[in-house]
């Protein structure tokens, strides 16, 4: 459904992504793990056209092109078919929880107002925040803000939702509520690509794990194969480190 080949990206002459290929099928829940600085965020941002890649090919929605040849219409098509959940939530601070969700529906998708409100309320219900619909982001906890962020992405019914470390800006006691929402989404068949340091999520919720280091995909496979018998030394070291620190 979404296929990326040979994605490259450099900043100031430093190659951060050195040819990444990812294949996402419908219903997949893919976890991307790897050390800090390995290029995970950069990968998501380039796959979703938030940044322009230096090379590589994308096949998604009606687009089948090299990244560098994407027209602004292609970019719009890609953006309208993905959802993005940010590490820092990035809610619209001048909008209520409900408006954060209806904004994209009304302005970008041209859904009429009452229909948009209905969809938004359903999305809020899914993340357990129906009673917070009229709160502004500044009146919500981090965990609640992130759940609104997830509802905002879900409401647009995208083909894939990307998550960039959705819980790493949260206080430890708020991580659980967000993970629960993500787990529910996964179980209801939402296609997700999740960058995470939550090894439990990677292991128990996803059906595929990608281990990245230094701008390469070192290893990928089922959670069992990555966590039980990693074949690469890099993967073993990383897992030993991170599991020792939990």
């Amino acid at each position: 459904m979404l296929k990326i080949e040979g994605l490259r990206k450099s900043y100031d002459g430093n190659e951060i992504l050195k040819g990444i290929s990812v294949d996402v099928s419908k219903g997949d829940v893919i976890s991307i793990i790897g050390p800090s600085g390995s290029g995970k965020t950069t990968l998501l941002r380039n796959m979703t056209t938030l940044e322009q890649a230096d090379g590589g090919h994308i096949q998604f929605a009606d687009v089948d092109k090299d990244f560098q040849k994407l027209s602004s219409k292609d970019i719009q098509t890609i953006r309208r078919n993905v959802g993005f959940v940010f590490q820092n939530y990035n809610l619209f601070n001048n909008k209520t929880a409900l408006q954060n969700i209806t904004e994209g529906l009304i302005v970008a998708r041209k859904v009429n107002k009452s229909e948009a409100k209905k969809i938004a309320l359903e999305a809020l219900e899914r993340v357990g925040l129906s009673d917070r619909q009229n709160h502004y982001p500044s009146q919500l906890s981090g965990g609640q803000q992130q759940r609104v962020g997830i509802a905002r992405a879900v409401a647009l019914n995208p083909k894939v939702i990307f998550f960039d470390e959705p819980t790493s800006a949260l206080d430890p006691e708020l991580v659980g509520e967000v993970l629960k929402v993500m787990r529910d989404l996964a179980e209801s068949g939402t296609t997700m690509v999740v960058v995470t340091h939550q090894m439990n999520f990677a292991r128990n919720v996803s059906n595929k794990v990608i281990f990245m280091a230094d701008g390469h995909i070192v290893e990928q496979g089922s959670p069992e194969s990555i966590f039980e018998h990693p074949s690469e030394k890099r993967t073993q070291e990383f897992l030993t480190d991170i599991l020792a620190n939990v």
Binding site: T48, L50, Q76, R79, R80, V82, G83, F84, F86, N88, N90, L91, F92, N93, N94, K95, E103, G104, V107, A108, R109, Y136, P137, S138, Q139, G149, R152, A153, L156
Partner: protein
């Protein structure tokens, strides 16, 4: 008591000239804001030439005292125009020269205010707007601008008050505004009642800036009431 009567009397004589002050101020505010917006955009632009040009412009303008700016425009522009475009603008209404000078002066602080207000809205919100499918313009107009506006408002009002006070130099090139009027009154009274006259003049300026302050507070309050929130 006598003095109060005098001041009220002078107020009555000065107030008709207020429209000059208002026309000059409002025109310079509108034009200066537009120019300031352009400068702020130039400072963010991809082009290094534009960025450097905008920075130099802003630092030069900021270092120029208002009275000098008014004289430079009043005496310099006609020469410049006749030399370069062979157009004679010496006969222009003198008010235009003041408006041009104040527009140039006002654009510098405004560009800084707009730039920092824009910067105060996290870039992540723009990205979030793009990722829900809004165009860059929709994101700017619906998400960034309303937030930047609230941030910019108090500083903007300050600059407006400053501009109005600098506008009191309008009389120096012979435009009959309130200040010029006050000078005439004092001259007509052979230098008498000078402090009462200027006191009346000060009162007018005082009321105008108070009104601006109040207006800003009201707008901010209504914004906060709408958001029912204190800080982001």
């Amino acid at each position: 008591m006598e003095n109060i009567k005098l001041i009220i009397n002078f107020l009555g004589q000065l107030l008709p000239a207020i429209n000059i002050t208002l026309i000059v101020s409002v025109s310079s505010i509108v034009l200066g804001s537009l120019l300031g917006l352009g400068l702020a955009a130039a400072k963010q632009s991809e082009s290094a030439i534009l960025r450097v040009f905008a920075s130099i412009y802003v630092s030069v303008i900021r270092a120029t005292p208002s009275i000098i700016m008014i004289f430079v425009v009043y005496y310099g522009m006609p020469l410049f125009f006749s030399a370069w475009f062979h157009i004679n603008i010496e006969g222009w209404n003198r008010m235009y020269f003041v408006i041009i000078a104040l527009t140039l002066l006002f654009s510098a602080p405004v560009s800084e205010i707009m730039r920092s207000a824009y910067g105060s809205v996290s870039k992540g919100q723009t990205e979030a707007g793009l990722m829900v499918g809004m165009t860059p313009f929709q994101t700017f107009y619906r998400i960034v601008l309303p937030q930047a506006f609230v941030v910019a408002l108090p500083n903007f009002a300050n600059s407006v008050i400053n501009l109005m006070k600098e506008g009191a130099l309008t009389f120096t090139i012979g435009v009959v505004d309130m200040v010029a009027k006050a000078q005439m009154i004092v001259a007509n009274n052979s230098g008498g009642y000078a402090w009462q006259t200027y006191c009346a003049l000060a009162l007018i300026y005082w009321v105008i800036s108070l009104a601006i302050d109040k207006g800003v507070t009201l707008v901010e309050k209504s914004y906060q009431a709408k958001r029912k929130t204190i800080a982001a």
